[in-house]
């Protein structure tokens, strides 16, 4: 084989790949970070210390935590049922889990408006109880729950499938109840899968935009999350504010996901 020619191909392919990823991914990141500091560090700190920015981050965190908690419990249950039980309609249930991946976030928000909005078909019931869902936090929670539904379940299904069942059987032979077996034997074994699922769900929840824009309306101080703050700041041409919050949000999500990846790799090796 001609070694010099081989090296040539290698060089061309590597250059192409680095150029592509560099232009597509790295350049925009660098652009955003430099845009954030165009008025100096002071301007960035001023933006991040504003009460409206902090309340926007606070709302993002609150919605993210709540949604993640729900998915941790119910997602684990759904994954468990799908792997361990055999029942009619199982294929259907399995197919439904991926549906949120396929639906545009705007459509998700809009579906909720059709249900809970002023003319929505659930409006009469909401009125009786005096509940507000659309253009309020509950609607945003539902939207985020829809969008993040697959992450925990899809993460846990293979983990539960690969579980060694002899230990569980041993525990129940020794007289442990179903719950005891779950908490003492199963849970420790799937713990890392759950932690990874939590991280992915939380990161995705923090970054949600389209669905909560439509259903929440982005009212400043009431239904404005970090992403909705970025959107409004761009609209109002407050660029440093938009860029600063975007960098903080992006960095936080990146750290979450990469930290989870590291944990996973460590766990495997």
């Amino acid at each position: 084989m001609n070694n010099r020619k081989l090296d040539g191909v290698r060089l061309v392919l590597l250059t192409l790949v680095w150029l592509y990823v560099g232009v597509l991914i790295l350049a925009p990141i660098a652009g955003l970070v430099s845009g954030m500091f165009r008025d100096g560090v002071g301007a960035v700190l001023e933006v991040l210390s504003r009460p409206e920015v902090q309340s926007a981050f606070g709302l993002s965190l609150k919605i993210g935590l709540f949604v993640t908690a729900v998915h941790t419990v119910l997602g684990t249950l759904v994954a468990w049922v799908l792997v361990r039980h055999r029942f009619p309609g199982q294929g259907w249930l399995n197919a439904l889990i991926d549906a949120p991946f396929a639906v545009s976030p705007v459509v998700v928000g809009y579906m909720l408006l059709l249900m809970f909005g002023r003319n929505g078909f659930l409006a009469p019931i909401l009125e009786i109880f005096g509940w507000r869902v659309a253009f309020a936090v509950p609607g945003m929670v539902l939207a985020t729950m829809f969008v993040t539904l697959p992450f925990m379940i899809r993460e846990l299904i293979p983990v539960i499938q690969n579980l060694d069942r002899t230990q569980e059987q041993a525990a129940s032979t020794l007289g442990a109840t179903g719950w005891q077996t779950f908490w003492r034997v199963t849970f420790p074994a799937i713990r890392w899968g759950i932690i990874y699922g939590i991280t992915l769900t939380f990161a995705r929840a923090l970054g949600e935009f389209g669905a909560i824009l439509v259903v929440g309306g982005g009212v400043q101080g009431r239904t404005e999350t970090a992403t909705l703050f970025i959107y409004r700041s761009l609209d109002e041409r407050q660029y440093v504010a938009a860029y600063s919050v975007a960098v903080v949000l992006g960095l936080f999500s990146m750290l979450l996901v990469m930290g989870a990846d590291l944990l996973k790799r460590k766990q495997r090796s």
Partner: protein, 280 residues
């Protein structure tokens, strides 16, 4: 399986099995099925004729066409570049390999709205690079279709790479070496031995990026600027119709988007099942 299932049932009382299944069905039913049925009902509320008429309104039709062609272009570029990146990552040893591998996953970790902001900062008409591109090449990126394509390429970068990578890793190098010993040229080896094995995973990754691209909103709404009949995609069109309280228009295009995505999901499922069979 049935044996251990029986043991499991013996350990847990029947009512708790039913309760767990009941909660699972109720959760997914309330969260997923009811909202989808609502959009189906509302989109078809005025009948199929009206549905068709709304889809063919100039702005709606243009938005759907723009969405479909940008997504298709993105899927094709991803198929080529994804194969290339996966090949380089699996077959070559080089410095910075871990970094490249991590960068492929970055788009999944960055909120898509932030992606949109990044692209506006880089290619916006007031920015140095954006201004230079317009002046030198007359190429308007932001508030125009090229911006949409770049945003979608950013967001969907991992799909083909991650679909192809594991298959390429498992691929037997023996066959390639045999072909090389028999005097086959590198390109011939790639085309005749490597590519056939990667065809289905690359296709399923490309379809996945297509379906992701069809629904994308956050990155596009910032980059495309919502100009009807020019840079307004279907998702942005729905947003506009919701804002202006045109319920029927919003529901019809939403339903079309949902139908396209579900068709694609089924296609992807079928392709990956075939790919799975092909490997055994």
């Amino acid at each position: 399986m049935s044996h251990s299932g029986a043991e499991h049932r013996a350990a847990t009382p029947a009512w708790s099995v039913w309760a767990m299944q009941g909660v699972a069905f109720a959760f997914l039913g309330v969260m997923v099925v009811i909202p989808l049925l609502v959009i189906l009902q509302d989109g078809l509320r005025e009948g199929l004729m009206e549905f068709w008429r709304q889809l063919n309104l100039p702005a709606a039709r243009h938005a759907l066409q723009l969405t479909l062609w940008t997504s298709a272009l993105v899927a094709v570029i991803n198929a080529v570049m994804g194969l290339l990146i996966a090949y380089v990552l699996v077959r070559y040893q080089f410095t910075g390999k871990t970094l490249l591998n991590a960068m492929v996953d970055l788009p999944l970790a960055i909120p898509t709205l932030v992606t949109g902001v990044m692209l506006v900062v880089l290619y916006g008409p007031q920015q140095p690079l954006g201004a230079w591109l317009i002046e030198r090449f007359g190429l308007k990126v932001i508030f125009a279709p090229p911006g949409i394509v770049i945003a979608l390429l950013f967001v969907t970068l991992p799909f083909v790479v991650r679909a192809v990578q594991p298959v390429l890793k498992e691929l037997d190098v023996v066959q390639e070496n045999a072909a090389a010993t028999l005097g086959a040229r590198r390109w011939t080896i790639f085309r005749r031995v490597v590519l056939p094995a990667l065809r289905l995973p690359a296709l399923s990754g490309a379809l996945l990026s297509f379906s992701r691209a069809v629904g994308e909103f956050g990155a596009i709404v910032i980059v495309a600027g919502n100009i009807p009949m020019f840079s307004q995609t279907a998702a942005v069109y729905v947003f506009g119709e919701v804002e202006s309280e045109n319920r029927l228009g919003a529901s019809v295009v939403s339903l079309a988007l949902v139908a396209i995505s579900f068709g694609l999901m089924n296609l992807i499922e079928w392709v990956s099942r075939r790919a799975g069979k092909g490997r055994v």
